[in-house]
Amino acid sequence: MNPSNKKKDAAMAVEIGGLKLKNPVMTASGTFGYGEEYADYVDLNQLGAIVVKGLSLKPRLGNPPPRIMETAGGMLNAVGLQNVGVDVFIKEKLPFLRQYDVAVIANIYGESTLEYSQVAKKLSQAEGVHALEVNVSCPNVKKGGLSFGSDPKAAAEVTRRVKAETHLPVIVKLTPNVTDIAAIAQSVEEAGADAVSLINTLTGMSIDLKTRTPHLKNITGGLSGPAIKPVALRMVWQVAQKVAIPVIGIGGILTAEDALEFMIAGAKAVQIGTANFINPRATIEIIDGIRHYLQNNKIKNINDIVGTLRT
Protein backbone atom coordinates (compact mmCIF):
# COMPACT_ATOMS: atom_id res chain seq x y z
CA MET A 1 0.00 0.00 0.00
CA ASN A 2 1.42 3.39 -0.91
CA PRO A 3 1.56 6.10 1.77
CA SER A 4 -1.18 8.24 0.22
CA ASN A 5 -3.63 5.32 0.34
CA LYS A 6 -2.71 4.70 3.94
CA LYS A 7 -3.42 8.31 4.76
CA LYS A 8 -6.69 8.16 2.83
CA ASP A 9 -7.76 5.09 4.75
CA ALA A 10 -6.79 6.53 8.12
CA ALA A 11 -9.10 9.43 7.38
CA MET A 12 -12.06 7.06 7.16
CA ALA A 13 -11.39 4.93 10.26
CA VAL A 14 -13.71 5.08 13.26
CA GLU A 15 -13.81 3.34 16.60
CA ILE A 16 -16.95 2.01 18.26
CA GLY A 17 -16.54 0.89 21.85
CA GLY A 18 -12.97 -0.28 21.27
CA LEU A 19 -13.78 -1.88 17.93
CA LYS A 20 -11.72 -0.33 15.15
CA LEU A 21 -13.47 -0.04 11.80
CA LYS A 22 -11.94 0.80 8.42
CA ASN A 23 -14.77 3.15 7.71
CA PRO A 24 -18.08 4.11 9.29
CA VAL A 25 -20.30 2.11 6.92
CA MET A 26 -21.85 -1.14 8.12
CA THR A 27 -24.66 -3.29 6.84
CA ALA A 28 -27.85 -3.32 8.90
CA SER A 29 -28.96 -6.58 10.44
CA GLY A 30 -31.53 -8.49 8.43
CA THR A 31 -30.72 -6.76 5.18
CA PHE A 32 -27.45 -8.44 4.28
CA GLY A 33 -28.09 -12.05 5.28
CA TYR A 34 -24.90 -13.63 6.60
CA GLY A 35 -22.71 -11.78 4.12
CA GLU A 36 -22.55 -14.57 1.56
CA GLU A 37 -25.77 -13.43 -0.13
CA TYR A 38 -24.04 -10.26 -1.33
CA ALA A 39 -20.46 -11.50 -1.69
CA ASP A 40 -20.91 -11.76 -5.47
CA TYR A 41 -21.77 -8.06 -5.67
CA VAL A 42 -19.66 -6.46 -2.98
CA ASP A 43 -16.03 -6.87 -1.92
CA LEU A 44 -16.82 -7.53 1.72
CA ASN A 45 -13.27 -6.49 2.69
CA GLN A 46 -14.17 -2.91 1.91
CA LEU A 47 -16.99 -2.66 4.43
CA GLY A 48 -16.68 -1.04 7.83
CA ALA A 49 -18.51 -3.99 9.35
CA ILE A 50 -21.05 -6.66 8.51
CA VAL A 51 -23.93 -6.94 10.94
CA VAL A 52 -25.47 -10.34 10.39
CA LYS A 53 -29.11 -11.37 10.52
CA GLY A 54 -30.46 -11.59 14.10
CA LEU A 55 -29.47 -14.82 15.84
CA SER A 56 -31.44 -16.69 18.46
CA LEU A 57 -30.49 -19.66 20.64
CA LYS A 58 -32.54 -22.10 18.55
CA PRO A 59 -33.35 -21.80 14.82
CA ARG A 60 -36.49 -19.74 14.23
CA LEU A 61 -39.08 -20.49 11.56
CA GLY A 62 -40.17 -16.87 11.22
CA ASN A 63 -43.63 -15.60 10.37
CA PRO A 64 -45.90 -17.07 7.69
CA PRO A 65 -46.02 -15.21 4.36
CA PRO A 66 -46.78 -12.71 2.96
CA ARG A 67 -44.00 -11.01 4.85
CA ILE A 68 -43.25 -7.89 2.85
CA MET A 69 -45.10 -5.06 1.14
CA GLU A 70 -43.81 -2.09 -0.74
CA THR A 71 -45.00 1.29 0.55
CA ALA A 72 -44.36 4.89 -0.49
CA GLY A 73 -40.60 5.40 -0.21
CA GLY A 74 -39.99 2.13 1.52
CA MET A 75 -41.35 -1.22 2.57
CA LEU A 76 -42.97 -3.09 5.42
CA ASN A 77 -41.59 -6.39 6.64
CA ALA A 78 -42.71 -8.95 9.15
CA VAL A 79 -40.10 -11.65 8.71
CA GLY A 80 -40.15 -12.50 12.40
CA LEU A 81 -36.45 -13.17 12.83
CA GLN A 82 -36.24 -16.34 10.75
CA ASN A 83 -32.68 -17.52 11.35
CA VAL A 84 -30.50 -20.61 11.48
CA GLY A 85 -29.79 -20.32 15.20
CA VAL A 86 -26.53 -19.44 16.88
CA ASP A 87 -24.95 -22.92 16.68
CA VAL A 88 -25.48 -23.32 12.93
CA PHE A 89 -24.28 -19.75 12.44
CA ILE A 90 -21.02 -20.49 14.22
CA LYS A 91 -20.53 -23.79 12.43
CA GLU A 92 -21.70 -22.98 8.91
CA LYS A 93 -21.83 -19.23 8.35
CA LEU A 94 -18.95 -17.82 10.39
CA PRO A 95 -16.16 -19.74 8.56
CA PHE A 96 -17.20 -17.98 5.36
CA LEU A 97 -16.98 -14.57 7.02
CA ARG A 98 -13.60 -15.38 8.57
CA GLN A 99 -12.09 -15.43 5.07
CA TYR A 100 -12.57 -11.68 4.92
CA ASP A 101 -10.74 -8.85 6.61
CA VAL A 102 -13.91 -7.24 7.91
CA ALA A 103 -15.43 -6.70 11.34
CA VAL A 104 -18.31 -9.08 12.00
CA ILE A 105 -21.02 -7.92 14.36
CA ALA A 106 -23.48 -10.56 15.48
CA ASN A 107 -26.98 -9.28 16.08
CA ILE A 108 -28.59 -11.28 18.89
CA TYR A 109 -32.14 -11.87 19.98
CA GLY A 110 -33.77 -13.72 22.85
CA GLU A 111 -37.23 -14.39 24.17
CA SER A 112 -35.87 -13.95 27.71
CA THR A 113 -32.89 -12.24 29.34
CA LEU A 114 -31.47 -15.71 29.90
CA GLU A 115 -31.65 -16.49 26.19
CA TYR A 116 -29.92 -13.22 25.30
CA SER A 117 -27.08 -14.07 27.68
CA GLN A 118 -26.78 -17.63 26.37
CA VAL A 119 -26.52 -16.47 22.75
CA ALA A 120 -24.00 -13.81 23.79
CA LYS A 121 -21.87 -16.38 25.57
CA LYS A 122 -21.75 -18.76 22.60
CA LEU A 123 -20.81 -15.99 20.18
CA SER A 124 -18.13 -14.61 22.50
CA GLN A 125 -16.40 -17.96 22.45
CA ALA A 126 -16.53 -18.21 18.67
CA GLU A 127 -13.61 -17.08 16.56
CA GLY A 128 -14.39 -14.25 14.18
CA VAL A 129 -17.11 -12.32 15.99
CA HIS A 130 -15.93 -8.80 16.82
CA ALA A 131 -18.92 -7.24 18.54
CA LEU A 132 -22.48 -7.96 19.54
CA GLU A 133 -25.53 -5.94 18.63
CA VAL A 134 -28.39 -6.61 20.99
CA ASN A 135 -31.75 -6.49 19.26
CA VAL A 136 -34.27 -5.19 21.78
CA SER A 137 -36.34 -3.66 19.03
CA CYS A 138 -37.85 -6.21 16.65
CA PRO A 139 -41.52 -5.32 16.15
CA ASN A 140 -42.46 -8.63 14.53
CA VAL A 141 -42.03 -11.23 17.26
CA LYS A 142 -44.47 -12.11 20.01
CA LYS A 143 -41.99 -12.53 22.83
CA GLY A 144 -38.86 -10.51 23.54
CA GLY A 145 -37.72 -7.97 21.01
CA LEU A 146 -39.59 -4.72 21.32
CA SER A 147 -40.98 -5.55 24.77
CA PHE A 148 -37.42 -5.27 26.14
CA GLY A 149 -36.59 -2.22 24.10
CA SER A 150 -39.58 -0.12 25.06
CA ASP A 151 -38.95 -0.28 28.80
CA PRO A 152 -35.80 1.42 30.13
CA LYS A 153 -35.44 -1.04 33.00
CA ALA A 154 -35.89 -4.15 30.86
CA ALA A 155 -33.48 -2.78 28.23
CA ALA A 156 -30.90 -2.12 30.94
CA GLU A 157 -31.36 -5.59 32.39
CA VAL A 158 -30.76 -7.27 29.01
CA THR A 159 -27.69 -5.08 28.50
CA ARG A 160 -26.25 -6.04 31.91
CA ARG A 161 -26.85 -9.74 31.32
CA VAL A 162 -25.18 -9.64 27.91
CA LYS A 163 -22.24 -7.58 29.22
CA ALA A 164 -21.71 -10.13 31.98
CA GLU A 165 -21.23 -12.88 29.40
CA THR A 166 -18.93 -11.19 26.94
CA HIS A 167 -15.65 -9.37 26.51
CA LEU A 168 -16.83 -8.05 23.14
CA PRO A 169 -18.14 -4.52 22.59
CA VAL A 170 -21.91 -4.48 23.08
CA ILE A 171 -24.11 -2.32 20.88
CA VAL A 172 -27.78 -2.03 21.82
CA LYS A 173 -30.15 -1.54 18.90
CA LEU A 174 -33.05 0.69 19.84
CA THR A 175 -36.64 0.88 18.68
CA PRO A 176 -38.26 4.12 17.55
CA ASN A 177 -41.64 2.86 18.77
CA VAL A 178 -41.32 4.62 22.12
CA THR A 179 -42.15 8.07 23.49
CA ASP A 180 -38.63 8.93 24.59
CA ILE A 181 -35.86 7.05 22.84
CA ALA A 182 -33.15 9.09 24.61
CA ALA A 183 -34.33 7.76 27.97
CA ILE A 184 -33.85 4.17 26.77
CA ALA A 185 -30.43 5.07 25.36
CA GLN A 186 -29.35 6.60 28.68
CA SER A 187 -30.62 3.58 30.55
CA VAL A 188 -28.60 1.09 28.47
CA GLU A 189 -25.55 3.37 28.66
CA GLU A 190 -25.73 3.23 32.45
CA ALA A 191 -26.07 -0.54 32.22
CA GLY A 192 -22.75 -0.71 30.38
CA ALA A 193 -23.60 -0.61 26.69
CA ASP A 194 -20.58 0.35 24.58
CA ALA A 195 -22.70 1.91 21.84
CA VAL A 196 -26.28 2.29 20.68
CA SER A 197 -27.61 1.83 17.17
CA LEU A 198 -30.86 3.37 16.02
CA ILE A 199 -33.41 3.18 14.63
CA ASN A 200 -34.97 -0.21 14.04
CA THR A 201 -38.16 -0.17 11.95
CA LEU A 202 -41.29 1.81 12.75
CA THR A 203 -44.40 -0.32 13.13
CA GLY A 204 -46.89 0.15 10.35
CA MET A 205 -49.47 -1.56 8.19
CA SER A 206 -50.98 -1.67 4.73
CA ILE A 207 -54.37 -2.91 3.50
CA ASP A 208 -55.51 -4.60 0.30
CA LEU A 209 -58.63 -2.76 -0.83
CA LYS A 210 -59.97 -5.60 -2.96
CA THR A 211 -60.00 -8.13 -0.16
CA ARG A 212 -60.02 -5.74 2.85
CA THR A 213 -57.24 -7.83 4.34
CA PRO A 214 -53.84 -6.68 5.56
CA HIS A 215 -51.07 -7.06 3.00
CA LEU A 216 -48.97 -8.79 5.65
CA LYS A 217 -50.05 -12.05 7.26
CA ASN A 218 -48.73 -10.66 10.56
CA ILE A 219 -51.10 -7.67 10.04
CA THR A 220 -48.46 -5.17 11.15
CA GLY A 221 -44.84 -4.94 10.13
CA GLY A 222 -41.77 -2.76 10.38
CA LEU A 223 -41.41 0.19 8.03
CA SER A 224 -37.98 0.85 6.56
CA GLY A 225 -36.49 2.77 3.66
CA PRO A 226 -36.12 6.46 2.85
CA ALA A 227 -39.63 7.15 4.19
CA ILE A 228 -38.30 6.86 7.75
CA LYS A 229 -35.10 8.86 7.33
CA PRO A 230 -36.29 12.14 8.83
CA VAL A 231 -37.62 10.33 11.91
CA ALA A 232 -34.38 8.39 12.30
CA LEU A 233 -32.27 11.49 11.89
CA ARG A 234 -34.25 13.35 14.55
CA MET A 235 -33.85 10.45 16.99
CA VAL A 236 -30.12 10.08 16.35
CA TRP A 237 -29.71 13.80 17.00
CA GLN A 238 -31.72 13.59 20.25
CA VAL A 239 -29.86 10.51 21.52
CA ALA A 240 -26.42 11.82 20.58
CA GLN A 241 -26.96 14.81 22.85
CA LYS A 242 -27.86 12.62 25.80
CA VAL A 243 -25.26 9.84 25.75
CA ALA A 244 -21.47 9.78 25.75
CA ILE A 245 -21.16 6.38 24.04
CA PRO A 246 -21.02 6.20 20.23
CA VAL A 247 -24.28 6.35 18.32
CA ILE A 248 -24.73 4.36 15.12
CA GLY A 249 -27.27 5.90 12.77
CA ILE A 250 -29.71 3.73 10.85
CA GLY A 251 -32.85 4.52 8.89
CA GLY A 252 -33.46 5.02 5.20
CA ILE A 253 -29.89 5.79 4.17
CA LEU A 254 -29.59 5.43 0.39
CA THR A 255 -26.66 7.70 -0.42
CA ALA A 256 -23.44 9.13 1.00
CA GLU A 257 -25.28 12.42 1.53
CA ASP A 258 -27.83 10.63 3.72
CA ALA A 259 -25.04 8.96 5.70
CA LEU A 260 -23.27 12.28 6.21
CA GLU A 261 -26.45 13.88 7.54
CA PHE A 262 -26.57 11.20 10.22
CA MET A 263 -22.93 11.78 11.11
CA ILE A 264 -23.41 15.52 11.37
CA ALA A 265 -26.40 14.82 13.63
CA GLY A 266 -24.07 12.86 15.92
CA ALA A 267 -23.68 9.35 14.55
CA LYS A 268 -20.14 7.99 14.61
CA ALA A 269 -21.05 5.30 12.12
CA VAL A 270 -24.02 4.31 10.02
CA GLN A 271 -25.78 1.16 8.93
CA ILE A 272 -27.17 0.61 5.46
CA GLY A 273 -30.28 -1.52 5.35
CA THR A 274 -33.10 -1.45 2.83
CA ALA A 275 -30.86 0.31 0.30
CA ASN A 276 -29.03 -3.01 -0.20
CA PHE A 277 -32.24 -4.50 -1.61
CA ILE A 278 -32.55 -1.97 -4.40
CA ASN A 279 -28.85 -1.58 -4.99
CA PRO A 280 -26.59 -4.43 -3.86
CA ARG A 281 -23.60 -2.11 -4.16
CA ALA A 282 -25.12 0.67 -2.04
CA THR A 283 -22.62 0.23 0.81
CA ILE A 284 -19.59 0.56 -1.47
CA GLU A 285 -21.04 3.57 -3.26
CA ILE A 286 -21.72 5.24 0.09
CA ILE A 287 -18.16 4.59 1.29
CA ASP A 288 -16.77 6.10 -1.93
CA GLY A 289 -19.14 9.03 -1.65
CA ILE A 290 -18.10 9.82 1.92
CA ARG A 291 -14.45 9.66 0.88
CA HIS A 292 -15.09 12.12 -1.94
CA TYR A 293 -16.97 14.42 0.38
CA LEU A 294 -13.99 14.54 2.75
CA GLN A 295 -11.60 15.23 -0.12
CA ASN A 296 -13.79 17.86 -1.75
CA ASN A 297 -14.34 19.69 1.51
CA LYS A 298 -10.77 19.28 2.70
CA ILE A 299 -11.86 17.48 5.84
CA LYS A 300 -8.89 15.52 7.19
CA ASN A 301 -10.76 12.95 9.19
CA ILE A 302 -14.29 11.59 9.17
CA ASN A 303 -14.47 11.91 12.94
CA ASP A 304 -14.17 15.67 12.50
CA ILE A 305 -17.70 15.93 11.19
CA VAL A 306 -19.42 13.79 13.81
CA GLY A 307 -21.90 15.84 15.83
CA THR A 308 -21.07 19.12 14.11
CA LEU A 309 -24.66 20.20 13.56
CA ARG A 310 -25.00 23.97 13.75
CA THR A 311 -28.26 25.06 15.30
Binding site: G30, Y38, E70, V79, P280
Partner: protein, 271 residues
Amino acid sequence: MAKDIYMGEVAANEEIQIDYFLMKVTLPLSFSEPLPGQFVMIRIAGLHDPFLSRPISIYSYTRGKSNCAIELLYRVVGKGTQILAGLIKGSQVEISGPLGGSYSIDHQKKNIVFIAGGIGIAPLSLLAEALCRKDCYSAAAMTFYLGAQTADAVVGLNRLRKLCYNITVCTDDGSLGQKSLVTKAFQKDIKKYSPSDTVIYACGPKAMVQSLSKILDGKYFCQVSLEERMACGVGACVGCVVAVKDGQGKLAYKRVCADGPVFDLQQIIWE
Protein backbone atom coordinates in the same frame (compact mmCIF):
# COMPACT_ATOMS: atom_id res chain seq x y z
CA MET B 1 -17.20 -10.77 -7.08
CA ALA B 2 -18.93 -12.35 -9.99
CA LYS B 3 -22.25 -10.62 -10.29
CA ASP B 4 -23.13 -7.15 -11.29
CA ILE B 5 -26.04 -4.84 -11.84
CA TYR B 6 -26.38 -4.27 -15.55
CA MET B 7 -27.58 -1.17 -17.29
CA GLY B 8 -29.98 -2.39 -19.94
CA GLU B 9 -31.62 -0.53 -22.77
CA VAL B 10 -35.22 -1.10 -23.73
CA ALA B 11 -35.16 -2.19 -27.37
CA ALA B 12 -38.92 -2.75 -27.57
CA ASN B 13 -41.85 -2.69 -25.17
CA GLU B 14 -45.09 -3.64 -26.88
CA GLU B 15 -48.57 -4.30 -25.60
CA ILE B 16 -49.20 -7.64 -27.27
CA GLN B 17 -52.65 -8.12 -25.72
CA ILE B 18 -54.60 -5.80 -23.45
CA ASP B 19 -52.50 -5.44 -20.26
CA TYR B 20 -49.85 -7.91 -21.48
CA PHE B 21 -46.49 -6.53 -22.51
CA LEU B 22 -43.40 -7.94 -24.16
CA MET B 23 -40.24 -6.02 -23.34
CA LYS B 24 -36.92 -6.62 -25.03
CA VAL B 25 -33.87 -5.37 -23.16
CA THR B 26 -30.37 -5.31 -24.60
CA LEU B 27 -27.58 -6.03 -22.16
CA PRO B 28 -23.81 -6.28 -22.22
CA LEU B 29 -22.33 -9.65 -23.15
CA SER B 30 -21.19 -10.09 -19.56
CA PHE B 31 -24.79 -10.85 -18.63
CA SER B 32 -24.71 -14.65 -18.40
CA GLU B 33 -26.96 -16.91 -20.39
CA PRO B 34 -30.02 -17.62 -18.24
CA LEU B 35 -31.28 -21.09 -17.45
CA PRO B 36 -35.00 -21.79 -17.86
CA GLY B 37 -36.85 -20.66 -14.73
CA GLN B 38 -34.39 -17.95 -13.78
CA PHE B 39 -35.51 -14.36 -13.37
CA VAL B 40 -34.19 -10.83 -13.25
CA MET B 41 -34.84 -7.94 -10.90
CA ILE B 42 -35.67 -4.89 -12.96
CA ARG B 43 -35.97 -1.24 -11.99
CA ILE B 44 -35.96 2.05 -13.78
CA ALA B 45 -32.54 3.61 -13.40
CA GLY B 46 -32.57 6.40 -10.84
CA LEU B 47 -36.25 6.13 -9.97
CA HIS B 48 -37.24 5.55 -6.33
CA ASP B 49 -40.97 5.29 -6.78
CA PRO B 50 -41.84 2.44 -7.01
CA PHE B 51 -39.18 1.76 -4.45
CA LEU B 52 -38.39 -1.90 -5.02
CA SER B 53 -37.20 -3.69 -8.13
CA ARG B 54 -39.62 -6.12 -9.76
CA PRO B 55 -38.86 -9.81 -10.27
CA ILE B 56 -39.77 -11.00 -13.77
CA SER B 57 -38.91 -14.36 -15.26
CA ILE B 58 -36.87 -14.52 -18.41
CA TYR B 59 -38.88 -15.37 -21.53
CA SER B 60 -36.06 -15.51 -24.06
CA TYR B 61 -32.37 -14.89 -24.48
CA THR B 62 -30.39 -14.11 -27.61
CA ARG B 63 -26.73 -13.41 -27.97
CA GLY B 64 -25.29 -11.16 -30.65
CA LYS B 65 -21.78 -10.01 -31.46
CA SER B 66 -21.70 -6.88 -29.35
CA ASN B 67 -24.51 -7.46 -26.88
CA CYS B 68 -27.18 -9.87 -25.76
CA ALA B 69 -30.89 -9.44 -25.23
CA ILE B 70 -33.57 -10.85 -22.99
CA GLU B 71 -37.31 -10.68 -23.34
CA LEU B 72 -39.67 -10.24 -20.43
CA LEU B 73 -43.34 -11.07 -20.75
CA TYR B 74 -45.40 -9.36 -18.08
CA ARG B 75 -48.91 -8.39 -17.16
CA VAL B 76 -49.75 -4.99 -15.74
CA VAL B 77 -51.04 -5.70 -12.25
CA GLY B 78 -49.86 -2.79 -10.11
CA LYS B 79 -47.83 0.35 -9.90
CA GLY B 80 -44.51 -1.27 -10.75
CA THR B 81 -45.63 -3.05 -13.89
CA GLN B 82 -47.67 0.00 -14.93
CA ILE B 83 -44.54 2.13 -14.92
CA LEU B 84 -42.59 -0.56 -16.77
CA ALA B 85 -45.37 -0.59 -19.37
CA GLY B 86 -44.81 3.11 -19.98
CA LEU B 87 -41.15 2.71 -20.91
CA ILE B 88 -40.28 3.60 -24.47
CA LYS B 89 -37.52 2.33 -26.72
CA GLY B 90 -34.18 3.62 -25.53
CA SER B 91 -35.14 3.84 -21.83
CA GLN B 92 -32.53 2.72 -19.35
CA VAL B 93 -33.31 -0.04 -16.91
CA GLU B 94 -31.21 -1.61 -14.16
CA ILE B 95 -31.16 -5.37 -14.34
CA SER B 96 -29.68 -7.79 -11.90
CA GLY B 97 -29.54 -11.43 -12.74
CA PRO B 98 -30.00 -14.04 -13.93
CA LEU B 99 -31.20 -14.93 -10.44
CA GLY B 100 -32.50 -18.05 -8.74
CA GLY B 101 -32.39 -21.69 -9.74
CA SER B 102 -33.82 -23.37 -12.80
CA TYR B 103 -35.97 -26.28 -13.92
CA SER B 104 -33.92 -29.45 -14.09
CA ILE B 105 -33.81 -30.75 -17.63
CA ASP B 106 -31.72 -33.87 -17.47
CA HIS B 107 -34.61 -36.29 -17.36
CA GLN B 108 -34.92 -38.81 -20.15
CA LYS B 109 -38.66 -39.33 -19.75
CA LYS B 110 -41.10 -40.39 -22.46
CA ASN B 111 -43.52 -37.58 -21.76
CA ILE B 112 -42.68 -33.99 -21.03
CA VAL B 113 -45.79 -32.15 -19.92
CA PHE B 114 -46.03 -28.40 -19.45
CA ILE B 115 -48.90 -26.80 -17.61
CA ALA B 116 -49.06 -23.02 -17.76
CA GLY B 117 -51.60 -20.51 -16.54
CA GLY B 118 -51.59 -17.08 -18.18
CA ILE B 119 -48.25 -15.37 -17.90
CA GLY B 120 -46.82 -18.62 -16.51
CA ILE B 121 -46.03 -19.46 -20.11
CA ALA B 122 -42.90 -17.26 -19.95
CA PRO B 123 -40.43 -19.51 -18.09
CA LEU B 124 -41.96 -22.66 -19.61
CA SER B 125 -41.50 -21.30 -23.11
CA LEU B 126 -37.80 -20.74 -22.39
CA LEU B 127 -37.64 -24.27 -21.02
CA ALA B 128 -39.37 -25.74 -24.09
CA GLU B 129 -36.88 -23.90 -26.28
CA ALA B 130 -33.96 -25.28 -24.27
CA LEU B 131 -35.35 -28.82 -24.57
CA CYS B 132 -35.87 -28.46 -28.32
CA ARG B 133 -32.33 -27.28 -28.72
CA LYS B 134 -31.04 -30.18 -26.65
CA ASP B 135 -32.46 -32.94 -28.86
CA CYS B 136 -35.30 -33.52 -31.29
CA TYR B 137 -36.48 -36.42 -29.19
CA SER B 138 -37.59 -33.94 -26.54
CA ALA B 139 -39.53 -31.89 -29.04
CA ALA B 140 -41.70 -34.86 -29.95
CA ALA B 141 -42.25 -35.81 -26.34
CA MET B 142 -43.59 -32.41 -25.29
CA THR B 143 -47.22 -31.65 -24.60
CA PHE B 144 -48.27 -28.19 -23.54
CA TYR B 145 -51.44 -27.30 -21.64
CA LEU B 146 -51.99 -23.58 -21.69
CA GLY B 147 -54.81 -21.94 -19.79
CA ALA B 148 -56.10 -18.41 -19.29
CA GLN B 149 -59.31 -16.70 -18.26
CA THR B 150 -60.18 -15.48 -21.74
CA ALA B 151 -58.73 -15.44 -25.25
CA ASP B 152 -57.38 -11.94 -24.50
CA ALA B 153 -55.23 -13.38 -21.76
CA VAL B 154 -53.61 -16.06 -23.91
CA VAL B 155 -50.13 -14.83 -24.73
CA GLY B 156 -47.10 -16.36 -26.35
CA LEU B 157 -49.07 -19.00 -28.24
CA ASN B 158 -47.63 -18.30 -31.69
CA ARG B 159 -44.07 -18.62 -30.52
CA LEU B 160 -44.92 -21.74 -28.60
CA ARG B 161 -46.37 -23.36 -31.75
CA LYS B 162 -42.90 -23.26 -33.28
CA LEU B 163 -41.53 -25.23 -30.34
CA CYS B 164 -44.23 -27.71 -29.53
CA TYR B 165 -46.63 -29.73 -31.72
CA ASN B 166 -49.08 -30.79 -29.05
CA ILE B 167 -50.73 -27.80 -27.47
CA THR B 168 -54.06 -27.80 -25.66
CA VAL B 169 -55.42 -24.32 -25.09
CA CYS B 170 -58.14 -23.74 -22.49
CA THR B 171 -60.03 -20.65 -21.42
CA ASP B 172 -62.47 -20.20 -18.56
CA ASP B 173 -65.11 -18.75 -20.90
CA GLY B 174 -64.36 -20.88 -23.96
CA SER B 175 -63.36 -17.87 -26.03
CA LEU B 176 -60.33 -19.81 -27.25
CA GLY B 177 -59.71 -23.55 -27.24
CA GLN B 178 -61.55 -25.72 -24.76
CA LYS B 179 -63.87 -24.21 -22.18
CA SER B 180 -62.11 -25.68 -19.20
CA LEU B 181 -59.61 -25.05 -16.47
CA VAL B 182 -56.16 -26.01 -17.69
CA THR B 183 -55.75 -28.44 -14.81
CA LYS B 184 -59.04 -30.16 -15.69
CA ALA B 185 -57.95 -30.52 -19.33
CA PHE B 186 -54.75 -32.16 -18.17
CA GLN B 187 -56.66 -34.38 -15.75
CA LYS B 188 -58.79 -35.70 -18.63
CA ASP B 189 -55.58 -36.86 -20.35
CA ILE B 190 -53.73 -38.03 -17.28
CA LYS B 191 -54.05 -41.75 -18.17
CA LYS B 192 -51.82 -41.10 -21.20
CA TYR B 193 -48.98 -40.26 -18.87
CA SER B 194 -47.63 -42.93 -16.58
CA PRO B 195 -45.93 -41.47 -13.50
CA SER B 196 -42.66 -43.29 -14.14
CA ASP B 197 -42.41 -42.06 -17.72
CA THR B 198 -43.48 -38.46 -17.24
CA VAL B 199 -41.99 -35.22 -16.08
CA ILE B 200 -44.28 -32.25 -15.48
CA TYR B 201 -43.25 -28.60 -15.48
CA ALA B 202 -45.73 -26.00 -14.28
CA CYS B 203 -46.05 -22.28 -13.74
CA GLY B 204 -49.17 -20.28 -13.07
CA PRO B 205 -51.43 -18.75 -10.44
CA LYS B 206 -51.46 -20.26 -6.96
CA ALA B 207 -54.94 -21.74 -7.41
CA MET B 208 -53.78 -23.58 -10.53
CA VAL B 209 -50.68 -24.97 -8.86
CA GLN B 210 -52.65 -26.02 -5.81
CA SER B 211 -55.24 -27.79 -7.92
CA LEU B 212 -52.47 -29.51 -9.88
CA SER B 213 -50.96 -30.67 -6.62
CA LYS B 214 -54.27 -32.37 -5.72
CA ILE B 215 -54.58 -34.00 -9.15
CA LEU B 216 -51.03 -35.35 -9.16
CA ASP B 217 -51.35 -36.51 -5.56
CA GLY B 218 -47.59 -36.86 -5.16
CA LYS B 219 -47.40 -39.57 -7.83
CA TYR B 220 -45.57 -37.56 -10.50
CA PHE B 221 -42.28 -35.74 -10.66
CA CYS B 222 -43.42 -32.17 -11.07
CA GLN B 223 -41.45 -28.95 -10.83
CA VAL B 224 -43.20 -25.64 -10.45
CA SER B 225 -41.95 -22.08 -10.63
CA LEU B 226 -43.46 -19.81 -7.99
CA GLU B 227 -44.00 -16.10 -7.74
CA GLU B 228 -43.92 -13.94 -4.60
CA ARG B 229 -43.44 -10.30 -3.71
CA MET B 230 -39.69 -9.75 -3.40
CA ALA B 231 -37.44 -7.04 -2.06
CA CYS B 232 -33.83 -8.11 -2.67
CA GLY B 233 -34.03 -11.06 -5.07
CA VAL B 234 -30.81 -12.56 -3.72
CA GLY B 235 -31.89 -14.27 -0.49
CA ALA B 236 -31.01 -11.59 2.03
CA CYS B 237 -34.35 -10.13 3.08
CA VAL B 238 -36.15 -13.45 3.57
CA GLY B 239 -39.33 -11.71 2.46
CA CYS B 240 -40.49 -13.96 -0.42
CA VAL B 241 -40.86 -17.23 1.44
CA VAL B 242 -43.10 -20.18 0.73
CA ALA B 243 -44.05 -22.96 3.17
CA VAL B 244 -42.38 -26.26 2.29
CA LYS B 245 -41.54 -29.60 3.90
CA ASP B 246 -37.88 -29.76 4.88
CA GLY B 247 -35.71 -32.92 4.77
CA GLN B 248 -37.43 -34.30 7.88
CA GLY B 249 -40.91 -33.46 6.59
CA LYS B 250 -41.26 -30.49 8.94
CA LEU B 251 -42.51 -27.03 8.01
CA ALA B 252 -39.85 -24.64 6.77
CA TYR B 253 -40.00 -21.32 4.97
CA LYS B 254 -37.89 -21.27 1.83
CA ARG B 255 -37.00 -18.18 -0.17
CA VAL B 256 -38.58 -18.13 -3.62
CA CYS B 257 -35.71 -15.99 -4.94
CA ALA B 258 -32.72 -17.96 -3.70
CA ASP B 259 -34.04 -21.44 -2.85
CA GLY B 260 -36.47 -21.35 -5.82
CA PRO B 261 -38.15 -20.03 -7.82
CA VAL B 262 -38.46 -23.63 -9.04
CA PHE B 263 -39.62 -26.10 -6.40
CA ASP B 264 -40.66 -29.73 -6.43
CA LEU B 265 -44.44 -29.56 -6.24
CA GLN B 266 -44.49 -32.28 -3.58
CA GLN B 267 -42.46 -30.13 -1.20
CA ILE B 268 -44.98 -27.31 -1.08
CA ILE B 269 -47.29 -27.11 1.90
CA TRP B 270 -50.71 -25.64 1.14
CA GLU B 271 -52.71 -23.84 3.80
